[in-house]
């Protein structure tokens, strides 16, 4: 059985409230959560430690989520294979297409229920 407790998830979002909300949802399911405030900090974290999933906001200061995803994919390092779930308030087809072109594996539109997020995280990590 895949053990959620051993799964590491990186949450990249500039809003502290959102990070706390996600963290609560994920930790309740036994995931380990690391946080980053923007894409730049996200890159630092993801290069230091491998994650089973990165949950990334689109609109962030310093480095936005799309740039973050594109950079991770372009590095051609083991870290480039990290599955990425993008989250945004933007629900337009062009926003989704942009995330996909950058290399995000899935796109969810805010607001997201905690259960939904945790379920997606479990599927992404192959956990039960």
């Amino acid at each position: 059985m895949t053990d959620a407790a051993k799964k590491q998830i990186l949450v990249v979002d500039d809003a502290a409230l959102v990070r706390t909300y996600y963290r609560a949802a994920l930790e309740a399911r036994g995931f380990k959560v690391e946080e980053a405030l923007n894409g730049l900090e996200g890159l630092e974290k993801i290069l230091l430690q491998s994650f089973d999933l990165a949950i990334v906001d689109v609109n962030m200061p310093q480095m936005d989520g799309i740039t973050f995803v594109r950079t991770v994919r372009a590095m051609e390092l083991p870290v480039s294979s990290t599955p990425i779930l993008m989250i945004s308030t933007e629900a337009g087809p062009q926003d989704i297409a942009a995330a996909r072109q950058a290399g995000a594996n899935y796109y969810l539109v805010k607001p997201i229920k905690q259960d939904t997020l945790a379920e997606f995280a479990a599927i992404f990590c192959g956990a039960h």
């Binding site: 991770v72 990425i84 290399g103 899935y106 997606f120 192959g126």
Partner: protein
């Protein structure tokens, strides 16, 4: 024929007859709401039945017809003759399908195509009917305005509505926005102007020039009901047929995630290709593992590796596409009658394999020690020293063998979570279908049991839960009247009790209605009047597990179809377990399944001696032979048989087991040749039976010491089969 299927055919025919009856009455009097209700219910129940036997084409077709009837019902209108005819045609088609199933046992291969045809006819005649009543906007372009990602986040039925209020809507006292606000489960709204070129200056302020698109997580029926009173044009599109997606809801997120990896790969340029490939592959593999489709996951994993090496997406795209086409959800298909089945692959915790490796190491050390003892015996060592050494090694070997057995059993163990996690959603769906709200609480998900038991538990537990929801938990009104919370609670709990795993299903419903159970048992002749009178309440409550018992007064979607708790009892006993029930009126019912922790199947051959059946372990049976009786010769106090110039001692089973002896009936003797260590012996039997895999239950209590018996097992018909221990028999 399968009893499940038989019941389905029987019930479906009744329902068809009833629906035809109602439809024909409607033809006479199109506004008869009672007949319309009757027809609607019959179609609805038929659809539910089709869903249960997994006959998708039938479910689909009936769903389309049901939807049409529901629309007419909610609009309060009369059924148009054209539509009525199509509904009758639909029933004819269903009848023909049932005939085909009756003879062949499976749904006819042509059903899918016929269903498509029928549905387009039904929809066509509905649209024709609607066109007669109101002009409709043309084209499907407006569907482009839907937000796919918002839709993707919701399971179950989804519909899109386009609503263009009449320009004079405001004057008719109608508020389009209030109507939108009253729609069920709105996911999103897109409002545009009917005339995009209109400017602020030229706009007519009292004319309603709105073109509204709304998408909702609701069924078309609900949406139509909420639209009553709308003035203007409305058009409803179902984005997914709920009848078909119901089973997928459990897995739809994972399936969506899987599917979207194809889009990720589609956009792949040369930039960051490997990261894209690897992340899509990883995500797909995990989604498949989550779906329990480990084999497909392995295929996708290998395809990912291939794609990475070749630096192109096609191997992975093809693998994911293949996985998607076979992505049938397992939950409904699991409703097939219970058989003990072995999972093909088992994921094992590394530490358990390590334990085996460690024990193997110890065995090798012990092997060397025994080799040393053998050498000692050749060197004329003192017998006492040798004996001490051998005794010591035997003790060690004994310990290792026990540990090895435990370690091997531990490998076949799964946490009950793997079966429990499928229930919360099913419970919600079942409860919803009978108009109740029920919360499922699972406890002890980490409790482990033999993989085979865990796998085989799904169906019995589903039946028990269905029963608890259908018959245990009361309707919200009755609960309120009894001072209980409107939401019922069902607890599904697993716990370990020494060598058993106990699973409790507790509901806080009304308890078993014992008076009714007794009445039904008497009426259905499940027990005689005297026996019933002598029964305690606890004994009477257990009657609900008797074959052919069902207290359902109304036939609901899911239970009350004759596949009752008797099948649960049979399934549990096949696994070597027991079932117990405790009920308190007004407080609830608790059903406990007590199952063995481990389960080992033994292949046996059945034989008959002195009118009684016995099992012989197949691994010691060499061959069976029918010989002339004159080849059986007395030797000393016993007998022997000459087979292919070889004399084999013959054992009289009646004597060995203390059964009444009877003279040989024919001049032929049926012999089972068995190997016991290096020796071969024959066993004369009256009849040779069949081979089967059984769950051997060792004798316990007072009978534990009986020699010559390996254990007992329960046969499909409820008889107990004694399996003999060949080695002890020949001692």
């Amino acid at each position: 024929m399968d009893e499940f299927l038989e019941q389905f055919l029987l019930e479906s025919r009744d329902l068809i007859a009833q629906a035809i009856d109602d439809l024909l009455a409607l033809e006479e009097k199109p506004s008869d709401t009672e007949r319309l209700d009757g027809a609607f219910r019959a179609f609805h129940t038929l659809k539910g039945a089709a869903g249960i036997v997994d006959f998708a084409a039938m479910a689909r077709t009936l769903h389309a017809a049901e939807d049409i009837l529901a629309t007419i019902r909610s609009s309060g209108g009369a059924i148009a003759p054209g539509l009525l005819n199509e509904c009758l045609t639909c029933l004819d088609l269903t009848s023909r399908w049932l005939d085909a199933m009756q003879t062949s046992g499976v749904a006819p291969a042509t059903a899918e195509a016929e269903a498509d045809d029928m549905i387009s006819r039904l929809v066509g005649s509905r649209d024709a009917d609607e066109r007669d009543q109101a002009p409709q906007p043309q084209g499907d372009d407006w569907l482009q305005r839907l937000d796919a990602s918002a839709l993707a986040r919701f399971d179950g039925p989804r519909v899109a509505l386009r609503y263009i209020p009449s320009p004079d809507a405001f004057f008719q006292g109608h508020d389009p926005m209030a109507l939108i606000a009253g729609l069920p489960h709105v996911l999103g709204v897109d409002v545009a102007l009917t005339d995009p070129a209109v400017s602020l200056d030229s706009m007519a302020p009292f004319s309603c020039g709105l073109d509204i698109v709304v998408w909702m997580a609701a069924s078309a029926v609900d949406v139509r009901a909420a639209l009553t009173g709308a003035v203007g044009l409305t058009e409803i599109r179902e984005l997914a047929a709920p009848g078909v997606t119901q089973a997928e809801s459990d897995t739809s997120k994972a399936a969506l995630l899987l599917e979207s990896q194809l889009l990720v790969l589609q956009d792949a340029g040369s930039d960051g290709l490997s990261g894209r490939l690897a992340s899509a592959g990883r995500t797909a593999v995990h989604a498949l593992i989550h779906l329990g489709r480990d084999e497909a996951a392995i295929v996708v994993d290998q395809a990912t590796a291939k794609a990475l090496v070749e630096r192109r997406t096609s191997p992975l795209v093809e693998a994911i596409e293949r996985a998607l086409t076979r992505a049938g959800p397992a939950s409904v298909r699991d409703d097939a009658p219970a058989r003990v089945h072995v999972p093909r692959a088992l994921r094992v915790d590394m530490s358990r394999i390590d334990a085996l490796v460690k024990l193997t190491g110890e065995l090798i050390v012990l092997k060397n020690a025994i080799g040393h003892a053998a050498k000692l015996s050749q060197e004329n060592t003192q017998p006492a020293v040798l004996a001490a050494s051998l005794r010591d090694q035997h003790a060690q070997f004994d310990r290792l063998a026990t540990e090895l057995q435990t370690a091997v059993l531990r490998i076949r163990v799964l946490p009950l979570r793997s079966v429990f996690r499928r229930f919360p959603r099913l419970v919600r769906e079942i409860a919803g279908s009978v108009g109740k709200t029920v919360r499922l609480v699972t406890e002890g998900d980490d409790t482990e049991a033999d993989a085979m038991i865990v796998e085989a538990l799904f169906e019995p537990l589903l039946h028990i839960l269905r029963n608890a929801i259908d018959h245990g938990i009361e309707s919200p009104e009755r609960r309120a009247a009894a001072g209980k919370p409107a939401m019922g609670t069902v607890v599904l709990r697993a716990r370990r009790e020494s060598d058993s795993v106990v699973i409790d299903v507790e509901d806080d419903g009304a308890g078993v209605d014992l008076a009714r159970v007794r009445a039904v048992a008497a009426q259905r002749r499940i027990a005689g009047a005297d026996a019933l009178a002598a029964m305690t309440d606890a004994e009477a409550a257990h009657l609900i597990f008797a074959a052919g018992f069902s207290t359902a007064t109304t036939v609901t979607d899911l239970s009350g179809r004759g596949v009752g708790l008797d099948s649960v009892k049979a399934a549990v006993e096949r696994l070597g377990g027991r079932i117990a029930l405790e009920t308190r009126p007004g407080i609830g019912t608790s059903i406990a399944l007590m199952l063995p922790f481990s389960l080992m199947m033994t292949p046996v051959m059945t034989v008959e001696v002195a009118g009684q059946a016995f099992g012989l372990p197949l691994d010691s049976v060499l061959e069976t032979a029918i010989v002339k009786r004159n080849l059986v010769v007395p030797i000393g106090s016993g007998h022997a048989v000459v087979l292919r110039d070889r004399t084999v001692p013959l054992i009289d089973l009646t004597q060995a087991l203390g059964l009444p002896h009877h003279p040989p009936a024919s001049d032929q003797a049926r012999i089972v040749l068995m190997s016991i260590g290096p020796k071969v012996a024959g066993l004369e039997v009256d009849r040779l039976g069949e081979r089967m895999d059984v769950m051997l239950k060792p004798m316990d209590g007072l009978l534990a010491g009986v020699s010559g018996v390996a254990g007992t097992t329960l046969l499909g018909d409820g008889r107990v089969l004694i399996v003999l221990n060949a080695e002890e028999l020949f001692d």
